[in-house]
């Protein structure tokens, strides 16, 4: 068995490895290389060292703004999405009529793609703001909160499913024992339910964290390319594509450097996530 596994190893692994190399590793290596250059197209680059990385913080005023906006957005999303998803999950693990129907309904927004969702919410939000004679571009905070609402609408259903799975794994006896000891529902929630679903909480937190941090299409569809409401991913896109003209090569390099910094940030988050969730899983 072990021998045949070894024999066929290349047959099974090589196609995937090749695909992974061609479509991920190679472009990634090129991307990192290009962040140290100025270039118009990827085959005409001129080495400039760390200049692009310095420019991100000196020349370009949008990066830090977008980073801070993204951090704020992420924090708000993590809190709202998880609290609401947990609440809905608690509700939908009770013995209610038509519970599967409700679970499906809450999950459905997650099946719609980001761009479509962005446009739907842009219609809704502008429709409501229209009564006050303004629209979503009137104030950057409208755009920000619009994005939070939309993120919640999309993510709550998905997180709810994870929480429901966690809640269903809590042994009935513990709750019964607590009830006999005279614990109040609130006490049961905080002393039994929450500690028991901690693994789900961790997973959901990180999923929301990475999803909010990398948000792009919803941002573009809902807020357009307004500088005040551009999260990091959209800011990088704009840096790269919109500075056409005499300094094109320079801005391409800066955009690329931003993308590498962005990658490092996401990689750190993902790494911590892996460590933390891994530990929890062992405990479980």
């Amino acid at each position: 068995m072990h021998k045949s596994l070894k024999k066929y190893f290349p047959v099974f692994v090589m196609p995937v490895l090749a695909a992974f190399t061609v479509s991920f590793l190679a472009p990634f290596a090129m991307g990192v290389y290009l962040s140290f250059t100025r270039f118009k197209t990827v085959d005409s680059s001129e080495w400039v060292g760390f200049e692009n990385y310095i420019s991100i913080f000196t020349q370009d005023e949008t990066f830090l703004y977008s980073l801070w906006l993204t951090v704020r957005f992420t924090v708000v999303s993590i809190i709202t999405v998880n609290v609401l998803a947990f609440a809905v999950a608690l509700l939908l693990t009770r013995k209610l009529k038509g519970i599967n129907f409700f679970r499906t309904v809450f999950f459905m927004p997650n099946l719609i793609g980001g761009i479509v969702l962005g446009h739907i919410w842009s219609l809704i939000i502008n429709g409501i703001l229209g009564f006050y004679g303004v629209d979503i571009t009137y104030d950057p905070s409208y755009g920000f909160w619009g994005l939070v609402v939309q993120m919640n609408w999309q993510m709550i259903g998905y997180m709810m499913i994870i929480y429901i799975a966690g809640l269903q794994n809590i042994p009935e006896q513990i709750n019964e024992a607590a009830a006999i000891d005279g614990a109040s529902p609130v006490r049961k929630l905080f002393s039994i339910t929450l500690p028991m679903v901690m693994p789900s909480v961790t997973i959901c937190t990180f999923l929301t964290l990475t999803n909010s941090f990398k948000l792009f299409d919803q941002n573009l569809a809902l807020n357009g390319k307004n500088a005040e409401t551009s999260l990091l991913a959209l800011d990088i896109y704009k840096t790269f594509y919109d500075h056409t003209g005499l300094r094109l090569a320079e801005w391409h390099g800066i955009g690329q450097a931003k993308a590498v910094v962005f990658f490092l940030l996401v990689a750190v988050i993902a790494f911590v996530q892996l460590r933390v969730t891994g530990r929890k899983e062992v405990e479980h």
Binding site: K40, V42, N126, K225, Y241, D242, T244, L246, H252
Partner: protein
């Protein structure tokens, strides 16, 4: 262990293959065996016509024309991506001197092509050091499109506050303002919601203001200062005509179908539809918008009622100014393609703009006013706005304003200016701040 080394080596080889694949162009076949020409089209609205052109050309010559169309607003990104591949377009386009600066090493010298020899106005081409790197292939014009039926209805109102009787009498900003404001006041009698269609200030939909309207003060400033666009004096502006920009912009946003606080989500299509459906009497746009008026279902505007007014802004001697006519579409041939491919591309372009079949496809299909002497006076597109452009073009009494927005610094500049205009409309920025931003960022984007 050995296997692992083999595996790693394979990975490296593959990666190397990918890299090397990026660094060279497709090797051309032996001389004279070009079988296909790649063309990256800029105008999504006429993408279908290119399918027809491609079919006809293949029938005639056996050479396959592969046309790829970049989605609206993504031409630069598509071109950037395609240029680095084996499927790099042989024919592509740039939008003027700034576009040329971006793509200079990809633009072949077209001085000896037939197409350039037949260009009616050689000064329109993109040239540098005796070389010709971009040939304009379409002339377009924009101004204030008006609906004569509604204007005539206004001129026949007995209680109106102005003394004008014909649209031709409007030859200054003062006249335009008087008529517009009076019409706005009597919009109920005229059956319209506002005089002007909504000033679309949604990002990506604001080019009529941050580019086209801005062209007028900038061009007038260049003319005053005698700025030669081949030098680098255009790398800073004072926005001396900013008050004039404000004049017309205020007129647009205050006499419109939409309240000015709600312009941030309106797009061009909506704005054009308002005009087509007769909800407003005027809209600033160019001759390319004809299909957005006449092709819209429920359209109430008759072709013969559509005309262009110059965009008056209250400058001295403006009665002698015409509409804004020029081009931002310059055709280029990829210098990094093989000789044979470049020749095939030049041959195709010459065929398109000189043969009977080609010319018919250009005027009737693409709807272009082509700036080549191979086209006779009768061979112009037959939509009403294109005819208006030709009428203004041939009007010797006026000076038509050229398209100098091709030297605007970058997309970022235009978008930021557009968003400043939106904030001004919403009341979040005052005009001084808008002006300051327009001047400062012009310089900054050029890195001056």
């Amino acid at each position: 262990m050995k296997k692992r080394i083999v595996a790693i080596l394979t990975v490296i080889c593959l990666a190397a293959g990918v890299f090397s694949g990026c660094t060279r162009m497709k090797p051309a076949g032996p001389e004279g065996t070009v079988t296909e020409i790649r063309y990256l089209n800029f105008k999504p609205e006429i993408a279908e016509v290119y399918d027809e052109i491609s079919r006809v050309y293949e029938e005639e010559t056996g050479i396959k024309l592969i046309v790829e169309t970049a989605a609206s607003g993504t031409y630069e990104s598509t071109l950037t991506a395609r240029m680095a591949t084996d499927e790099a377009p042989t024919i592509f386009q740039i939008n003027g001197p700034i576009g040329y600066a971006s793509w200079a090493e990809y633009c072949a010298d077209l001085k000896n092509t037939e197409l350039y020899k037949h260009l009616t106005d050689k000064s329109l081409a993109i040239t540098k050091n005796n070389g010709v790197y971009g040939i304009p292939y379409v002339v377009e014009g924009y101004g204030i499109i008006y609906n004569k039926a509604i204007l005539n209805k206004y001129f026949s109102l007995p209680n109106r506050n102005t003394s004008y009787n014909y649209v031709e009498e409007i030859t200054s900003f003062a006249a335009l303002k008087a008529v517009v404001e009076d019409m706005q006041a009597r919009r109920a009698d005229l059956g319209i919601q506002g005089v002007f269609a909504s000033t679309s200030l949604k990002t990506g939909e604001d080019w009529r203001w941050q580019t086209h309207l801005m062209n007028i003060p900038v061009t007038l400033e260049f003319l005053d200062k005698n700025i030669d666009l081949t030098g680098d004096k255009y790398k800073s502006i004072d926005f001396t005509y900013s008050e004039n920009f404000k004049n017309i912009f205020d007129l647009y946003i205050n006499n419109s179908t939409t309240d000015k606080a709600r312009l941030g989500t309106v797009d061009v299509t909506t704005s054009m539809a308002e005009f087509a459906l007769g909800k407003c009497a005027m809209v600033q746009n160019g001759n390319w918008g004809a299909s957005q008026i006449l092709g819209v279902s429920g359209n109430t505007v008759r072709a013969e009622d559509i005309g262009f007014l110059p965009i008056y802004t209250g400058t001295r001697g403006e009665e002698n100014l015409g509409i804004s006519i020029g081009t931002e579409n310059f055709i280029c041939i990829n210098a990094k393609a093989s000789e044979a491919q470049q020749q095939a591309a030049a041959d195709f372009l010459w065929w398109l703009f000189s043969s009977e079949k080609g010319k018919k496809l250009v005027t009737e299909g693409l709807g272009f006013i082509a700036p080549f002497d191979t086209f006779s006076a009768e061979e112009t597109p037959d939509d009403p706005l294109a005819r208006e452009v030709v009428r203004w073009l041939n009007n010797d009494k006026v000076i038509n304003i050229p398209w100098n927005f091709t030297v605007f610094p970058s997309q970022t500049y235009k978008e930021r200016f557009g968003s400043a205009l939106l904030k001004y409309a919403q009341g979040a920025m005052n005009w001084e701040q808008v002006k300051k931003q327009a001047v400062d960022e012009w310089k900054k984007e050029f890195g001056a």
